[in-house]
Amino acid sequence: MITLKDLRKSYEVGERQVDVLNGLDLEIKQGDMLAIMGRSGSGKSTLLNILAGLDTADSGVYQYKQVYISEMNGNQRAQFRKKHIGFIVQNFALIDSKNVFENIALPLRYSKLSRGEIRDRVDRVLADLRITELQSKAVDTLSGGEMQRVAIARALIQNPDLILADEPTGALDEQTEAEILDIFAKLNQQGKTLVVVTHDQVVADYCQQIYYMQEGKVAPITS
């Protein structure tokens, strides 16, 4: 489903050039559930952002099914994100000024859907994640686990093929972490492709493949 070839990205930090991605190759198949581990600063978020079409590499090829994301401009990538990507940003990113319902509905606001359709879709996702009773709450009254469910609900609302999660359980207790991982496993069983960035071996063990990121490349870990 996804082919990354020779991706390179570097940042100028003062005089120095930091190579974050350094000829990275990666192949992801439909239905994979993938963990990416690595030291802090190794470039995991950078990779995930590129996969999401939020960021771009300096060079290299990013092919998603038949299309070359690496050839797209900003607006085309926005379309791509909207259609195919469910992104769970690090630290349960929710918008404080919107309630749970509006947070989940946000991606739909960028598509031309009627009120009724939005309502239906959000209701369905709320039910799937068993958080229907939270829908009109303000987000700052939620617990960590609830917030992460809402963030997952937002990532799922467009029914994307590819779900990207950056440290989805980093700040959760074990019990809640297990619940979230269950949700991921279910999504994977439904046929979704998941890429999860994590520091946590428990999370990684839930995935079929574990990749380790180092020196701007990823390599599979075989245990």
Partner: protein
């Protein structure tokens, strides 16, 4: 669009008081802009046209034919009309272009019962009983009569038609040419005839032209008389001897008014008084004096507005800067506050352009709403040169929005999505 409104609304709520403060500043700025606009448009028309009259002292003449019994006795004298005519001619001969007759005397016009005429009624602003006056077939309309010297010296600007020629100031036996104020333009054309009564005499008025909007004249009693709703008539000379008694009475009353003119002079007061005594003597008319002198009707207004104008300019200038600064600061602050939220929007399928449009829409709203309110208020209350005024406000609006959005635009230009996501962590 819906999305933009939603985001603007949420954003406004986020720094409510700062936004309200800015809205107040902007309102004040538009308000001062309005004052400047008003003084500017008025000063312009004054300085060009009336500056020459500005330095002069106004001596108001007044006949001493009071009380009524004295007036009655005078009118019954067989030669009173001759006396009045001679006096008037001598006043004009002695003072020439300094003798200006500008009198505000209504004229009765035969009109249908249409409320569009209401504002043209004599005394409309003073609360005349409009409903009662409307029932008459001849309606009392605002009018001024002006002599030839007055007409040339005020150089009343026309938008259409032709001004008065010398012959127009002499009654030709059937019609009187008139100029109509700008507000009459939709209702009449040049060449139209109007049936009217002036001092109870039936007359036909011929529309000869239209006066430019916001034109004003002044005399001793009226520091500013805007002509927009007035009928301007020549102060007529009657060369023929009246045929009927009614005609004679009409002419007498008419000339009685003509002699109560104003001398616009830059000479020493004693010279003016001496010259007037001379006129009284050769005209054999003693009941006439200078009622008062006024040297700063216009002068005073000019300087007062001038001072205010400079003050206003300084205020407008500094307020302009303060507004732009505070909007820029607010927007940059919000931009930084919103890193995390912006990342979420982007991940949800937004483009950077869309995010920028939210900020821009917020600036539009913060500047546009006060601007719109002030403009609508202006239309309700003042209305003078509304087109120009709207243009000025639109430009002011555009300039504020452009300048205050600029720092934000630059921030967006150099924004890297990765740093946005970085900071959101």
């Amino acid at each position: 669009m819906n999305m933009i409104l939603r985001e603007v609304w949420e954003s406004l709520k986020r720094r409510k008081w700062f936004s309200v403060l800015i809205a107040i500043q902007i309102t004040a700025l538009f308000f001062i802009g309005t004052l400047l606009f008003l003084t500017h448009t008025r000063i312009e028309s004054k300085s060009d046209r009336l500056q020459p009259l500005d330095e002069l002292t106004l001596y108001q003449l007044s006949d001493g034919l009071v009380p009524d019994s004295k007036l009655q006795a005078f009118l019954e004298q067989p030669d009173s009309l001759d006396q009045l005519k001679t006096l008037y001619q001598n006043l004009e001969a002695q003072f020439e272009e300094r003798y200006i007759y500008l009198f505000n005397q209504m004229i009765e016009v035969k009109l249908g019962d249409d409320q569009k005429w209401d504002p043209f009624f004599h005394g409309y602003e003073q609360g005349a009983p409009i409903e009662r006056l409307k029932k008459r077939s001849y309606k009392p309309m605002k009018a001024v009569q002006i002599n030839e010297h007055g007409f040339t010296r005020f150089s009343i600007p026309l938008s259409k038609g032709a001004g008065f020629s010398s012959e127009d100031f002499h009654y030709n036996g059937n019609t009187i040419p008139v100029l109509l104020g700008a507000k009459y333009e939709p209702f009449y054309n040049v060449g139209d005839e109007i049936t009217a009564k002036y001092i109870q005499k039936d007359l036909t008025l011929i529309v000869q032209g239209f006066i430019q909007p916001d034109t004003f004249v002044f005399n001793y009693n009226h520091p500013e008389l805007y002509l927009d709703r007035y009928i301007v008539m020549p102060a007529l000379q009657f060369d023929k001897i009246p045929q009927t008694e009614a005609d004679e009475l009409f002419q007498k009353r008419h000339y009685l008014q003509l002699i109560n003119g104003t001398i616009f002079s830059d000479e020493e007061p004693y010279v003016v008084r001496r010259d007037l005594e001379q006129v009284k003597k050769v005209s054999d008319f003693s009941d006439m004096q200078i009622m008062g002198a006024n040297s700063d009707t216009l002068n005073f207004m000019f300087s007062a507005i001038q001072v205010n104008k400079n003050l206003l300019k300084i205020m407008a200038g500094s307020l302009f800067l303060v507004c732009i600064l505070s909007i820029s600061i607010l927007m940059i602050t919000k931009f930084q506050d919103n890193y995390r939220n912006m990342a979420i929007h982007l991940a949800s399928g937004a483009t950077l352009n869309q995010l920028f449009s939210y900020f821009l829409a917020e600036i539009f709203f913060m500047v546009g709403l006060p601007g719109l309110v002030v403009t609508l208020l202006y239309r309700q209350v003042i209305e003078v040169s509304f087109g120009m005024y709207t243009l000025m406000n639109t430009m002011l609006f555009a300039v504020i929005v452009l300048i205050s959005a600029l720092p934000l635009y630059l921030q967006f230009r150099k924004l890297e999505i990765s740093s946005l996501l970085k900071r959101s962590e």
